[in-house]
């Protein structure tokens, strides 16, 4: 307090400038927060409007129609899309994690000829748009294995390592000091035991990040279900079905927005529970160093 009174005019202007900067930064922050949040708010508010009001220019519902969500769930197929999405995302994530860990471990910790080449090929696969190889892949799954109309052409490949997951896990495993592995070897652990008992417990955040990314990837995937499942509505996922929902209710913006909320909500909920792992994963994707 005393210090403040005796502060020189220069210190006072400096303090005033700091205060002004604080206000400017935080106002800008609030403005940005409004930009990022408002779309969610409008979508949510519209999802609770009556049919006719959703077509008007009102921003706030007159009556709060929670029944819209019921109507969405009662739409034929909607629950099936949920189930399919959970199978695709859940099974796909488990398969990806299990098959990618040993590959990432080898790429991070083994020394062998062709390691750098393998890593470069992994990155090339990671950057490859799925459309590049879709014609032969479709012919393979549909004509040779007769699996079109199902989600298996999307799930089975995940048992053979996913390039992005391998890369991200490898980046994470690189950060584990070799001394731990050497110590395990001295204790008589083989490679598999070292991986399972020593490396995996330490790699838990990396694995969590990979699992999340893969879950979101499957949840969001539109192109895959479009190619393999479009002919069979019983195999549709939420991301794919949502668009047909819009087609069937093409003036009912309220119902479409309610369905949109139901597709977004699980992703956002999962994020809140696993925020730390996720942000860590984003920064790990390659920009360190």
């Amino acid at each position: 307090m005393k210090l403040r009174e005796t502060a020189s005019p220069a210190a006072r202007t400096a303090r005033r400038r700091a205060l002004l900067e604080w206000i400017a930064v935080h106002s800008l922050g609030v403005a940005a927060a409004v930009f990022f949040t408002l779309p969610f708010v409008f979508v949510f508010l519209t999802s609770l409007m009556s049919d006719s009001q959703a077509l008007s220019r009102d921003l706030i519902p007159h009556t709060w129609e929670w029944g819209n969500y019921r109507k969405v769930f009662d739409t034929p197929g909607f629950l099936t899309w949920w189930k399919n999405t959970l199978i695709y995302a859940g099974l796909g994530t488990v398969l990806t994690v299990v098959s990618s860990i040993p590959v990432a471990y080898a790429l991070a910790k083994f020394r062998f000829r062709g390691r750098n080449l393998s890593l470069m090929l992994v990155i090339s696969m990671m950057m490859l748009p799925p459309q590049v190889i879709i014609i032969p892949m479709y012919l393979f799954w549909a004509k040779q294995l007769d699996l079109s109309g199902t989600l298996w052409p999307l799930i089975i490949p995940m048992a053979f390592g996913d390039a992005f997951s391998i890369f991200l896990l490898r980046q994470f495993l690189m950060t584990i000091p070799n001394e731990y592995l050497d110590a395990a070897k001295v204790d008589g652990c083989g490679d598999l035991r070292t991986l399972l008992k020593v490396v995996l417990p330490m790699a838990r955040p990396g694995i969590a990040a990979v699992a999340l990314f893969q879950f979101f990837y499957a949840w969001n995937d539109y192109f895959g279900p479009q190619i393999y499942a479009s002919e069979n509505p019983a195999a549709w996922t939420l991301s794919y079905g949502l668009e047909s929902f819009k087609g069937a209710h093409h003036t009912d913006w309220n119902l479409t927005m309610a369905a949109t909320v139901l597709v977004m909500a699980p992703v956002i909920l999962v994020f809140f529970f696993a925020q730390k792992a996720f942000v860590e994963g984003v920064t790990l994707t390659g920009v360190k160093g």
């Binding site: 779309p39 008007s56 890593l119 539109y222 192109f223 479009q226």
Partner: protein, 313 residues
């Protein structure tokens, strides 16, 4: 004796590596090498999925480059998006990243709010924006009207559909924000302090301290942005479909690119040629163009030291 154990040791190490790498080795062969070679093969074949493939030389290539009416518009759109959307996203992402490092009160809340839109599933997010920007009924229309600005047609106007998509991409800038935030926090404090002692202004500190330190990250953001733009598929497709009002289902054909080819991108052409026109050969030509473009930028990314942290140790 000792050479024998050495040899057997080596063999065991090789076996071990092969065992650990095996999921990916199989995946690489079946889901990368084979289809890629096959794509090259089909690009020289006439194949409609019913009659057996027949050699057609370079006819597919000539068709795609000369006569396929959607190819050049798609390439032009991609270029537009690279120039406008990617650069705006990098600048905006850096701005938001800077902002979040300066915010002192409620940092966690702000960071979460800024990041969330990035996670919105693309179909749902595009649908939301199609509604928000919908002429006549959308909230953005109401707001613009309220302040006396005539609202554009957005996804129904060929001149405004790509700006609409750009807006959607800016909304989902969270990935870049996090990357820039991490990079900005890594800039050594002392450099700022030294600059301040020299009397550098805020702009000079940004220009001569911040920017040189984070330039590798800016480069990374630009190149990955370009690669993502090559793959841009779901958002432009859904925006066009929803705005055009085409009802999906058996027997309906959506001519991609609505309005007036303005939302066409290369991946959509693969779908259009392969799965709507059943011209697998020409679809493979576009696929290879897409492949070549992606790989050029991927190679660029890998060649820069530090960019992907490839150095083993």
């Amino acid at each position: 004796m000792s050479t024998l154990t050495l040899a057997s040791k080596r063999r065991r190490a090789a076996l071990r590596t092969a065992a650990f790498m095996s999921p990916w080795l199989i995946g690489f062969a079946i889901f990368f090498a084979y289809p890629l070679i096959s794509t090259v093969y089909f690009s020289f074949m006439h194949y409609d999925g019913f009659r057996p493939p027949a050699w057609s030389g370079t006819r597919n290539w000539a068709y795609v480059f000369r006569n396929y009416p959607l190819f050049w518009p798609a390439l032009r759109n991609t270029l537009w998006l690279v120039v406008v959307a990617v650069s705006l996203r990098v600048v905006f992402g850096l701005g938001v990243g800077l902002l979040i490092t300066k915010i002192k009160a409620g940092t966690g809340v702000f960071r979460t709010l800024f990041y969330l839109p990035y996670l919105a599933p693309p179909v749902a997010a595009t649908m939301a924006f199609a509604f928000l920007l919908n002429p006549g009924t959308g909230p953005v229309d109401s707001i613009l009207d309220g302040i006396g600005i005539p609202a554009p047609g957005w996804f129904n106007d060929p001149d405004w559909s790509k700006p609409g998509l750009t807006l959607l991409a800016l909304w989902g800038v969270g990935d870049l924000m996090v990357i820039f935030m991490a990079a900005l926090l890594d800039v050594p404090r002392e450099q700022y302090e030294a600059a301040e002692l020299d009397g550098a202004s805020a702009w000079q500190r940004f220009r001569y301290v911040t920017l040189p330190n984070i330039s590798p990250i800016v480069m990374f953001a630009v190149v990955t942005g370009v690669i993502q733009t090559m793959q841009y598929y779901t958002q432009p497709l859904i925006a066009g479909k929803v705005a055009s009002g085409v009802i999906q289902g058996a027997g309906t054909q959506f001519e991609p690119g609505y309005p007036d080819k303005s939302t066409l991108t290369l991946p959509q052409l693969v779908y259009n040629l392969g799965f709507q026109r059943f011209d697998y050969g020409s679809a493979c030509v576009v696929a290879l163009v897409l492949f070549a473009l992606s790989m050029v930028f991927t190679a660029f990314l890998m060649r820069r030291r530090g960019g992907l942290n490839l150095a083993g140790d």
